[in-house]
Amino acid sequence: MRMTIVRTGPMTVLKDAGRPGHAHQGVAPSGAVDRGAYARANALVGNPPGTAVLECTLGGLRVSFDEPAVLALTGTDAVLTVDGTPAAPEQPTTVPAGAVVAVTMPRRGLRSYLAVRGGIDVAPVLGSRSTDQLAGVGPARPAPGDVLPIGELPVVETRALPISDRQGPLEVDLGPRDDWFTAEAIETFLSAEYTVSHASNSVGLRLDGPPLARSRTEELPSEGVVRGAVQVPPDGRPIIFQADHPVTGGYPVVAVLTPEAADRAAQLRPGAPIRFTRAPG
């Protein structure tokens, strides 16, 4: 089976579980920005974990298939339409050959995940079909007119994965470099309201808000960073690293989001308010 890309919207890329194991070559893991929504999309269509899907930022995606296909859309409240008719949300949907399948603009959330039963079967790069938009590693970004092969993976029965409805502050664990900041800065970080800046992308969420003062001002030798790490550059305004983060960072990381909080951060739009709180043990 083949999928034809009709339109991509502002930003559509291929994502899967990522490519860990290549940091020594200067390659970060990448992978889906909202891992929970990504995993749910695959589970809904019966794909095994790790299967490649489309990650669509702010809707506008249109595709069609040359054979009947089973699809699922997760991540936002964007609606999957089939020749203009809305499909049930968070459900596997069978679409006929030739139908135009569209992802509408979400009202809530940022990144939708469109899974196709069988998986998108382009050639993997270093074991993954994720496009790392910082490093430029992985399959090319789909463009209108592209035809992508759909695989023939055996259907696996997976129990339905729950949709997280967590709200409130994003939970963090302090460290590794919280001791590089003043006590007042830590208090500010855990109590103040920040705003997601427009200069945010799949590499990092830049935050506007009260700057965090350092107690140690020497230069930190670059060190490895993780998804969800809250790095504080010299201007004191935090950056939350997302899936396409660099391998290493040269500024202290004050805290790291829990995996659940990192998934929620993936859905925050520019202008969204954001607060942090310490995760329970």
Partner: protein, 204 residues
């Protein structure tokens, strides 16, 4: 002495005294293949250990890492690479001026030094090389270039490196090579991975 720093629920940051100790710990971790460890990020003074929380936990990884016995200050040998360089970089004169030596002497010291890949980063295939000639120590350019061609050979601080792809950058450029630092057709695309020993050879 290894210090362990909290780094979220899916990693542990191990901090040691210096680069040699970081490389030794990295080599020991690579050899140990601890269950659930999915990625290792060596750096100047740390090794980030990424883990799969479905298989292991930060506490278990800390304990297993503390029990390792990294081998002395010696660096694990990961092979040798000779890189041919045309020493015609746009910053060669400035580097010579900064060090108070001739351009030929810069070339002699760069080719005479024994370099080792300390760690990767910045871009796929970019290895930070440390050398045994402490006099080759230059500041970064005060204003980074917006585009540096692939194959450019540079200096920054006591590091040397080769840009794998066209990219912005602030290193002082002393030459260029046709050797490919990053080639996806190779089983391991990066030529320079931690532990590899490197020498540069002047060519025309």
């Amino acid at each position: 002495m290894t210090r362990f720093l909290t780094c979220g629920r899916e990693a542990v940051l191990a901090e040691v005294d210096d680069l040699d100790a970081a490389l030794a710990l990295y080599a020991a971790l690579r050899a140990a293949r601890l269950p659930g460890v999915v990625d290792l990020v060596p750096a100047a003074r740390t090794v980030l250990i990424r883990l799969d929380p479905a298989v292991t936990s930060p506490a278990a990884v800390r304990e297993a890492t503390a029990a390792l016995e990294p081998e002395g200050p010696g660096r694990a040998d990961a092979g040798t690479v000779e890189i041919p360089v045309v020493y015609d970089g746009p910053d060669l004169a400035e580097v010579a001026g900064h060090l108070g030596i001739t351009q030929d002497e810069v070339v002699a010291r760069h080719t005479g030094a024994r370099w080792t890949v300390a760690f990767a980063g910045f871009a796929p295939g970019f290895g930070y090389l440390t050398g045994d000639d402490a006099t080759l120590d230059v500041p970064r350019r005060s204003s980074p270039r917006t585009r540096i061609p692939a194959g450019s050979v540079g200096l920054a601080g006591r590091f040397s490196g080769v840009y794998p792809n066209d990219s912005p950058g602030g290193w002082q450029l002393i030459g260029s090579t046709t050797e490919r630092m990053w080639d996806l057709a190779r089983p391991e695309p990066a030529l320079l991975v931690p532990g590899v020993r490197v020498t540069f050879k002047a060519v025309r």
